[in-house]
């Protein structure tokens, strides 16, 4: 369901023009929760890669779908206008979305690399925790 939110956020951004749409506290928190969800799911997938318990094709395709959402979130958040009090939260959210996006790209390119999977699983778990803290 959050993907619909991401689509709506992207649409709102497009309608608001290239200057970026305005983002309130609730919408920003929802986006951070989406980042947390994506990071946690990507960590789970990376763990399966580390254990050699998943097919390379599945990893390549699924990371592509997850990456589309994380990339869209990163771009939308980077361009959105937020009230001054939320600027730091938005900046940290953009950084976390970027980390998820980068890690997903690595998994996409190396779906059979177990050592990389282990490293990315740990990193993505950390990102998920940071996003959880940020959403509070």
């Amino acid at each position: 369901m959050r993907r619909k939110g991401v689509c709506l956020a992207a649409l709102a951004f497009a309608l608001a023009g290239c200057g970026g749409g305005a983002l309130g506290k609730h919408a920003l928190t929802k986006d951070v929760e989406s980042i947390q969800s994506l990071a946690a799911e990507s960590a789970l997938l990376a763990t399966q890669v580390a254990h050699g318990d998943v097919t390379g094709t599945f990893v390549r395709v699924h990371t592509q779908y997850l990456g589309r959402v994380s990339g869209s979130l990163e771009r939308t958040l980077a361009k959105a206008r937020v009230p001054e009090g939320l600027a730091d939260k938005r900046r940290r959210a953009v950084r976390l979305a970027g980390l998820v996006d980068r890690d997903l790209e690595l998994l996409h390119e190396h779906p059979d690399d177990r050592a990389l999977g282990q490293r990315l699983a740990a990193e993505l778990e950390r990102v998920a925790k940071q996003a959880e803290e940020l959403a509070k």
Partner: protein
């Protein structure tokens, strides 16, 4: 063996109805959002669909009237036409979503382009409907869909809190967002009692030439099939409650559903899950495609049936082919199949009373049914579920608006 093979109609109707692409994601989302709290809704839905499937199977067997015959006769031409249009819209939305779902699963299995696989899925489904006899469609898609039982094994291996699972069968709402809880409850009920299941099931009873001797088979079919479908719903919700809820994962993709079998069971679990999903969504696509052709043919009094050659029932054959092509045209626009089917579930809920009321009226009519008309118990259950369906139909759209399409 032949007794087991005879259960294929109920199994296909239930698997196609309970675990199509929308239900897969809806069940997983319900579990990931509310844990095991909504398990009781599946029980309510399973009993409801058993009651009405048994009824419409009995009507089709005794009075030789599948659902849309009854709809036209009992609701009149005008209202009947409204029901036909509404049900065809929902059928088409669901068919398009299932075709997209099949292409998504094929992509996860083969890694080829999604758009190319949409065409592959449509051609495959068209060939299956054209070439295979009705009984073999049931068996192939129904029994291969049973690979989804891998989720039941996976759910056990995830070691959920069984006390909490048991508590989930008792209606309760331990949440700060009751509207969202109600939205999921309505969606799960709508998904369990989706109209195309009974269109397909009753027409299938006529296709298979059931006679009064087969009324026992009808009862067994509806019970075994839908209990199996319900079991798969439980398994998906428990998997999500144990795996995704504690991690704060909001499942959005068909790949996330499959990952639920991969984590506890490894690659073999993943492959079985994807094969099961492929045949379940393929079965649902055939259910909806044939249901659409059954409905329009029965409403206008055309010759119909898979057991007839296309030259004997040309308008029926053209109807299912046209629906398949329309489904293809919708899904190649790039619309998200998961989102499409979630909306189709909610929209179909509004059409539920107009589908189930005529079944209840005909099943109760001694002029048609003679000694096989509803008894007191069947009527009590039928009326109770009709009341539930009315409440669900009235609240579905407002809840979708109030919860922002389930976003909360």
């Amino acid at each position: 063996v032949s007794k087991v093979l005879q259960l294929a109609l109920g199994i296909l109707a239930a698997i196609g109805g309970f675990v199509d692409i929308g239900d897969l994601v809806f069940n997983i989302e319900a579990g990931a959002t509310f844990g095991y709290q909504l398990l009781w809704v599946v029980v309510v839905g399973v009993v409801g669909i058993i009651v009405y499937s048994e009824m419409c199977g009995r009507v089709a067997t005794v009075a030789k009237r599948p659902v849309f015959d009854a709809v036209r006769e009992r609701m009149g031409f005008g209202v009947g036409l409204g029901v036909l249009v509404a049900s065809q819209v929902v059928n088409l939305m669901t068919l398009a979503a299932e075709v997209g779902g099949a292409a998504l699963v094929l992509q996860l299995l083969a890694g080829i382009s999604y758009r190319a696989l949409i065409v592959v899925a449509v051609v495959g489904l068209g060939v299956a409907i054209w070439v295979l006899p009705f009984e073999w469609i049931e068996r192939l898609f129904g029994y291969m869909g049973l690979c989804l039982l891998v989720f039941a094994v996976g759910a056990i291996k995830l070691h959920p809190d069984w006390g909490a699972v048991g508590h989930g069968f008792v209606p309760h709402a331990d949440t700060g967002n009751f509207m969202l809880y109600a939205y999921f409850a309505v969606g799960l009920l709508g998904a369990a009692m989706t109209p195309y299941e009974v269109y397909f099931y009753s027409s299938g009873a006529v296709e298979e030439g059931w006679t009064q001797k087969d009324l026992g088979l009808n009862r067994t079919n509806s019970m075994v099939g839908y209990v199996l479908g319900g079991t798969l719903s439980f398994a998906l919700m428990i998997t999500a409650g144990a795996l995704y809820l504690p991690r704060g994962i909001d499942p959005q993709f068909i790949g996330t559903v499959a990952l639920g079998a991969d984590v506890p069971l490894g690659t073999i679990g993943l492959i079985l899950a994807m094969v099961g999903i492929l045949f379940a969504v393929g079965g649902a696509a055939i259910d909806t495609c044939l249901s659409g052709a059954y409905n329009v043919s029965q409403y206008f009094g055309w010759e119909w049936g898979k057991h007839r050659r296309p030259s004997e029932a040309p308008r029926f054959a053209l109807s299912w082919m046209a629906l398949l092509v329309l489904g293809l045209l919708i899904i190649v626009t790039g619309v998200d199949p998961v989102m499409l089917t979630e909306y189709s579930v909610i929209v179909s809920v509004v059409a539920l009373p107009l589908t189930y009321l005529p079944i209840l009226l005909v099943a109760n009519d001694k002029a048609y049914m003679g000694r096989y008309a509803n008894g007191r118990l069947a009527n009590a259950f039928g009326l109770f579920y009709l009341a539930i369906i009315m409440v669900v139909a009235l609240t579905a759209i407002p809840l979708m608006i109030l919860t922002n399409g389930g976003k909360g």
